[in-house]
Amino acid sequence: MLDMRMISQYLPDFFEALLETLKVAALSGIFSLIIGTVVGILSTMKSGFARIPVGIYTGFIRSTPLLVQLYFVHYGLPITGLMLTSFQSAIVAFSLNSGAYISEIVRGGLIAIDKGQAEASKALGLSWFQTMRKVILPQVFRNILPPLISQFSYLIKDTSLAAVLVIPELTYTARKIAARTYMPFESFGVPMLMYFGIYLILALLSSLISRNQKSRQSDAKRWFGLKKVV
């Protein structure tokens, strides 16, 4: 049933496509993290000037399909004079989309930090920016790491939609190979395994990090416990 010869013949193409998928995902991931952090901070501010546009942005992104956003950026925006290559369009759409979700995660993380942290920083003379960078955000990112990683795994799966813009990533390549070989089982099976592989790596990373955090705490506990006994 499984045609190994076909798989090994097209494996280089699949890996090339995997690389393209990773490229799209990584770039969108970085940009969406930046967008999400900035928007998340803005959404916790008191003034309506910052909060209202931010609310419109996240509300709009979350209530419209990603596929339509992708089409809109690539085929709709050129009317306004903004011509993007399909690769650029994909990055813009994925970053804006994922950024909206990440901003909600960051917002939640910011709200969870005790107000006393900012007060102590102010009283010590730290500027707002120093407080964010050295005191608040490190704590926020430590706390939101699990939801953040699951958001990234959504993003990686979502990049398959880039196939509609003819970007030679995994899904597009799979469709092309399927059409050429008439072997859809292998053609789509291999990318599926590859997506699953990326997910596994991410999940592993996530559990490793959280276990590392826990073990560091329990190591400390053990150490202090021992000291007491001695």
Binding site: Q117, A120, K122, A123, L124, L126, Q130, V135, Q139, A220
Partner: protein, 261 residues
């Protein structure tokens, strides 16, 4: 001749006229919405004063303290700290925050960095002290508060009393001219209160100017030189310690003292 006859008078004049107060509050009014929490508060605090603010909860003690470094904004009046009007410019406010230390009821240590990093963070970021100097100084301060063994511990691993002593060391690392304590022992187990008060006593004996919001009247009696009694947003009494305890002027103060002593 009168001058020579009364050295106390001269001292008084020196304190009143020649010495500038470290904190000078005039006509301070502060409201939270409709709630008027501070009413025409006037206060002078001089160098090496140890002022304990006491009074029933809701009297505005903490709010008054938090106005001094603008953690709380106020509507009317002026506060000068170290000769700078904190409301006038952002530069003044930053100067005051840089040169005053604050200790909170709930410690507010930074839980994600080690004890040493907690103490060195502000000197390195705000005063641009080289890292090795800041660390050396942090170790000295941690020795001073009796926590030499905990340099590399993280705040969640410490007891309440230890956390508060780290918080004091953190504030001292900025070489403050003024220390503000906002109910520093209220969140502590009775056993741990003493270790924190001992550190504060050491500081007071060393000549630090301190304003302390506290219910620890025993501590006030030992260490303070002035007591301020607030009720309903008004400073009812602001007197030297002995007069406060032995000869309170207002009935409200007498009532308060009879309940707590």
């Amino acid at each position: 001749m009168r001058w020579g006859a009364s050295p106390h008078l001269i001292l008084g004049i020196e304190r009143g006229i020649l010495m500038e107060p470290i904190v000078r509050i005039r006509g301070l009014n502060k409201s939270f919405g409709k709630l008027h929490v501070l009413k025409d508060v006037e206060l002078d605090v001089y160098e090496s004063d140890v002022l304990v603010l006491c009074g029933p909860s809701g009297a505005g003690k903490s709010t008054l303290l938090r106005c001094i470094n603008m953690l709380e904004h106020f509507q009317e009046g002026s506060i000068e700290v170290l000769g700078k009007d904190i409301k006038q410019t952002r530069v003044n406010l930053n100067f005051v925050r840089k040169n005053s230390g604050m200790v909170f009821q709930h410690f507010n240590l930074f839980p994600h960095i080690s004890v040493v990093d907690n103490v060195t963070l502000a000197p390195i970021l705000v005063k641009k002290v080289p890292k090795h100097e800041a660390v050396e100084k942090a170790k000295k301060l941690l020795d001073l508060v009796g926590l030499s063994a905990k340099y590399d511990a993280f705040p969640p691993q410490l007891s309440g009393g230890q956390k508060q002593r780290v918080a004091i060391a953190r504030a001292l690392a900025m070489d403050p001219k003024l220390m503000l304590f906002d109910e520093p022992t209220s969140a502590l187990d009775p056993e741990m209160i003493k270790e924190v008060l001992d550190v504060m006593t050491k500081l007071a004996r060393g000549g630090m100017t301190m304003i302390i919001v506290s219910h620890e009247m025993g501590f006030a009696r030992q260490v303070a030189n002035k007591i301020g009694f607030l009720d309903d947003g008004i400073i009812i009494e602001l007197t030297p310690k002995d007069e406060f305890f032995n000869n309170p002027r207002s009935d409200r103060t007498k009532e308060f003292l009879s309940k707590i002593l």
